[in-house]
Subunit: 902 residues, 2 copies
Amino acid sequence: MSEKYVYFFGQGQAEGNRDMRDTLGGKGANLAEMAGIGLPVPPGFTVSTEVCSLFFEAGNQLPAGVNAEILEHLDRLEKTAQQTFGDQDNPLLVSVRSGAKFSMPGMMDTVLNLGLNDKAVEGLARKSGDRRFALDCYRRLIQMFSDVVLEISKRKFEAILQAKKAEKNVEIDSDISEAMLEEILAEFKATVKQESGQEFPQDVKEQLFMAVSSVFSSWYNPRAKTYRRINHIPDDLGTAVNVQLMVFGNYGEESATGVGFTRNPATGALELFGEYLRNAQGEDVVAGIRTPSPFSELATDMPEVYQELKDTTTRLEKHYGDCQDFEFTVQEKKLYMLQTRSGKRTGQAAVKIAVDLVKEGVTTKEKALMLVEPGALDQLLHPVFDIEEKAQALGLAKGLAASPGAAAGQVVFTADEAVAWKQEGRQVVLVRDETSPDDIHGMSAPQGILTATGGMTSHAAVVGRQMGKPAVVGCGVLVINEEGKYFQAGDHRVTEGDSISIDGATGEVLLGEIKTRPSEIIQVVRGVIKPEDSPLFQDFTELLSWADEVRRMSVRANADTPEDAEMAFAFGAEGIGLARTEHMFFERDRLPIIKEMILSETEEARRRFLDKLLPFQRKDFYELFKAMRGNPVTIRTLDPPLHEFLPKKEDLMVEIAALKASGSSELDKLQGLEKLLERVKALSEFNPMLGHRGCRLGVTFPEIIEMQARAIFEAACQLAKEGQKVLPEIMVPLIGGVRELANQKEIIVRIAEELIQEYAVELNYTVGTMIEIPRAAITAAEVAKEADFFSFGTNDLTQTTFGISRDDGAGFINHYLTHGLWPDDPFMTVDIDGVGELMKWAVEKGRTTRPDLKVGICGVHGGDPRSIYFCHKIGLNYVSCSAYQIPIARLAAAQVTLQEKI
Amino acid sequence: MSEKYVYFFGQGQAEGNRDMRDTLGGKGANLAEMAGIGLPVPPGFTVSTEVCSLFFEAGNQLPAGVNAEILEHLDRLEKTAQQTFGDQDNPLLVSVRSGAKFSMPGMMDTVLNLGLNDKAVEGLARKSGDRRFALDCYRRLIQMFSDVVLEISKRKFEAILQAKKAEKNVEIDSDISEAMLEEILAEFKATVKQESGQEFPQDVKEQLFMAVSSVFSSWYNPRAKTYRRINHIPDDLGTAVNVQLMVFGNYGEESATGVGFTRNPATGALELFGEYLRNAQGEDVVAGIRTPSPFSELATDMPEVYQELKDTTTRLEKHYGDCQDFEFTVQEKKLYMLQTRSGKRTGQAAVKIAVDLVKEGVTTKEKALMLVEPGALDQLLHPVFDIEEKAQALGLAKGLAASPGAAAGQVVFTADEAVAWKQEGRQVVLVRDETSPDDIHGMSAPQGILTATGGMTSHAAVVGRQMGKPAVVGCGVLVINEEGKYFQAGDHRVTEGDSISIDGATGEVLLGEIKTRPSEIIQVVRGVIKPEDSPLFQDFTELLSWADEVRRMSVRANADTPEDAEMAFAFGAEGIGLARTEHMFFERDRLPIIKEMILSETEEARRRFLDKLLPFQRKDFYELFKAMRGNPVTIRTLDPPLHEFLPKKEDLMVEIAALKASGSSELDKLQGLEKLLERVKALSEFNPMLGHRGCRLGVTFPEIIEMQARAIFEAACQLAKEGQKVLPEIMVPLIGGVRELANQKEIIVRIAEELIQEYAVELNYTVGTMIEIPRAAITAAEVAKEADFFSFGTNDLTQTTFGISRDDGAGFINHYLTHGLWPDDPFMTVDIDGVGELMKWAVEKGRTTRPDLKVGICGVHGGDPRSIYFCHKIGLNYVSCSAYQIPIARLAAAQVTLQEKI
């Protein structure tokens, strides 16, 4: 107990400062900082976060040494304030507030007006000359203290208050008379006695220690724990406790309390933005009994106070270099600052504020980059609902917010219908139990996608995000009847053609078509708005250009088509990190050929159909290379199990059974179906994710890889011949060890060299591999002998490292997340302790063999800011993500580079 | 080139010895050893295995320095033999033979009679006084040299020989006259010229260098490569080349050549066992033109030679401490030893020989333990076919030899029929496309199991081995028509009730019922034969008792029932390492309750059915504990996905479709089926292996684990109360990290403590976890905080580390093995570089947290000798395997302990 646990602040001095958030919490550090630079902060002291740990270690009690230190500081506070705690003439009153390192608004406990008892309340009455005010403060104290410290239900006190008001025909609190307050106080104290078995504590020091202990205890209350889990705040940080001289916003009409922002948190515009309440304490604003007034009125009501507030908060913003969210109290025209912190803002505001602060000289580019949460950039790209219309719409259900954005349209139940209706000019929302690769052709048609099953990384969710298409998934309350062409959401039946709206940022499903518009940024990218007409776009572009100046990792796109590639390029992609060749196979004109190829039973027959596919693939690659203008394009060879291209086994079985039972005489059809079923059965697998796919296809059917290599290099050589720069990087999927890679590489290099000679061109290319199987990571030193590059396929790597299929885990993954078995969804954010450990190992071992090994990532995690930070830290060269995530990745990559510098 | 590359041996001296197998190869080392101890070995020299590497590095040619060293040794050989290489009066002839560290019989090349040319052949004629003999040697040389060195098809020479014999009406080779040989030689030489474009080399040194080079080259011939792959011999060992003075078994009727064993390799009986051919060279025996005579005749024909052979080989056996397999040549009554090595033997012989050698004082117990290949013990446990009957049966097909043993019976196609027929006293073979846990109840009924699909680790294979039941799986040629109750194997149709026989040691499927009998050991274990009447059983038991004296790891059994446990105990299990609780669920009287439990939609309903299951499970555990008599029993909590207990989705869909199409009026039935289908669909998973199973069930449905814990501890407490020792170890499956374990452990410990108090007993128990998910291994340091023990579930760990499902991989796994992409099937032998690395990591990290952490293995690898060696090396405390593998494990664990001592 030799350390310091309590820190004083007030009157231009402070033992702490803003850099001590670990020790003092956010609120305490900022109170100290404000006091230190001479702002009007009521004096007080902060009990440090370390005491929080000691408190729990000691079995939920304050260590004796800490008690003594608190009393020393209380003594100093009495001297500073020239008031005495519990005094019957000049009583010191304090507030007791929580304050953790990271803001957890409303999650923990607060007690105001502490220090009143039956005697001190009369002292306050005498000193203030307003006995009604003093009694009201006492009433408030008993109410809050009982709720927070004694755990007596708030409702009991509310009931007494309401009953008394009804009895006396009083409507608003300020009309409660002194006499009524005395009656209320008597009943409150009786209630305390009855509920807790003891009198309301008259010893003010006991009040103080009980309140401090309660605030520490509240660190582990259920809502605080949940909040921390959701916001990735570690449990072991603990909270600090701030004990501060009370100032009274309820001291009469010249007093007030309020909250505000230095800039508009929705738009980012430079304007003092906030609300206040006259003659009130903070909890009155929260309680919502009275409607606060906007600052514009404060300027009229109390012009000096308004000016002082403006000067003070402007000074604060400059001092902190960021838009501030502040709390203040005015007592008899004197302004007191009670809190300041970085203001939460929308993505749009974040961008504007960051750029403006630099332009205004308030901060540097590098610091400004740290002010924008990368994920918030997403908000700038997705269509948005009209907020007012949405508020009036009927909510049907809520699912997982899988792909942000607003979508509205008529309900359809199949991909084919989505395409057909769209062609007729209708806007549709595709509603399905789940989507599968079979639906791909119909997934770009609808405005949005809604599924009843599947998690945040289900097919619909992944494809939705990939396409920048709003999606709500796993909406379990929906019962979909595809045959009957309707779905049921509780009592509501929604039939094909009915309109619904889905909000992919919140998971809401609403009845009716709520108006949406594409975001401004997208309109600029699409050429609908000119860049010079969009200040937002200009800010967006400027901010990202600063990010590009600092980041070490490059950013690539996962893109399968020239359209994807063009979009990615517009968002700043420096190459393609993943082009999935199989997506090309699902197109209408190709699928029949693929099917025939798969159903072939000899290599010769397969080659015949592969020859037909070759021109299609060559054209795909030609266009993809062209769109990327000489930037590297990483092409993954065929990956999915072949039966994904065939009809489902059970569908065929049902069709056959029905045909037989109906006594149909269509023998040819039956035989055809039976033959097809036989082949489908032969190819079907219990666990397709762990089956005959990835390079295992290429190893067993080398003719498929030959065709793909030929298509790639014919396209590349053709472009080279035309004088365009091309840089193909061929990537082999799902290898478990070096021999598979060597096997596939031999084929690829042979065909490449043949064609380069045939076309007589110069062409650089590389051959690398996905690292998406634990064994590939473990044996990376060997694998690197054959690989020019590694690209982490973190979707599969997460699946195999956890032994969990993302398609099947929805049920228990949700349970794991809500019950704290996982801190995060590992399919969204790289699991650093498990998957991350394998990644680190693979990078290190791979580079022992090949020091210049290029390493990237192309799983969904490539667009997740925290995963991007991790990728940087373990030395990756690039991240690859969907076009819409590229701005996020550019910013996140810059932030982690800057963090490293600090 | 400062090292020594060539080693001389002969006349009681040798530069090498038997410990130099790495350098000299097995044959060379043993020739040196025999020469060194004064046995009659024709002198010669060995070109070391290191030269093999140099040869390939130099681009398939002998380095000049080696050539010189060979010539020096040739010179020494000439002096020793008092003959001159290529001399026209007294020519030196040599044999050139391969000889790698590990025996690869017949895989590489040999040239005999080298050193003859047109002049030297006359010298040999003169010296031997038998021109016909000399010409015949020359003829043999040209024939072998052309085949091996010049790569001219053997058939061309055979054709000439046959044509000449036909022309002259000669039937056997020894009747070919001198004149005929001259004609043949002329034609042979013409053929060489024609085929190779050059004359047969007359320079004998050129002959020698060409032959040595050819032997080295043959290291990489396809059959040698395949042999090494199958026998796990590394490619980089290389072969040595032995150049040795020719002795002639074809020098007349007083000469002979032969091969033999010092003991009977089938039974192990102490008798000189072998065959010889008079007036012949080694290749005549191989060619099979003449039938060799047994040694009994040699004793009569050449009694002195026989006696000398007996004395020499007895000395050899004593010298080597093991039964020897030897080659010899007699030239004019003089015996020459050409080869000795450990003789390959059956499992039965191996056991008898090892025990006899110790009894005879020839070797020590520890050395004897190293003489038995652990896997060979398997042969002693499985039923055997009558060999002669089998030879006459019609072969239908060949599949994978999944579980050794012989089985014969009438064909049935369902598990239910297997049970029913068996009850009627019939012996059956269960034939299915594949088996599943649904078939469990019917898998102990048949004599053997035959499946059309699945690999060596498919359900049928695993359960077959587990039950010690012969199984042939993955027999793709079979087309099974379950409905029609027949299967087609090529042209043969086998109908229900027809008899077939399957040999699980070879994969053969034969028509008709070939007689089998249980092995002698099993008959003793079952009490049919008394131990004192079975010398084999006595030897078996004695050998294993020696193993128990030396091994460090303990050996446990995977056993689910009291019967399994009793059998395991009889085979020496020291506890149960894996008791699968779900196997208990599949029993007839329980399955309906399980189904109801799963179909329940509320926890309350589930608990109702779980209460009904409790007494069953309690009884199971009571009996299991009792059978293990106080030894530790590791019980795994529920593991498989719940839908395994329900009917298949597609079967229900087909049933419903058929019912609908038939216009059936059974609406109730239809509705019931549809409701069931709905639930089955809700539970069905795309990748059940990666789905809702293992501890994920226990985490989401804690009431299931509560019931299981209650059943276990009620049984254990009851026994404790009855005064019996019990040691339950509860094992949580499929954890990915410490939190899942902590979650399950909390439930288990809570219930255990409750019951221990309730029963007022003392009871030791532990709670540990399977390590079968890569993430569990990676985070082992954390996991060990909650785990009393780890048990590697290498089946799942291999699946997830490779990202390959053993159920689905059959197709490409076979391709991988035959094409050298994998050295071994990782589902049979631990993949040391990948899975093994994770295991090593988990053991090390786990013990950093908990130094006394007990670690075992309970996957199929626990019964595989090479995997057991690995487990010992990384510090495991025990291995657990099926009852029938326990002898193997005891021996393998002893061997690796002994290896460590060396």
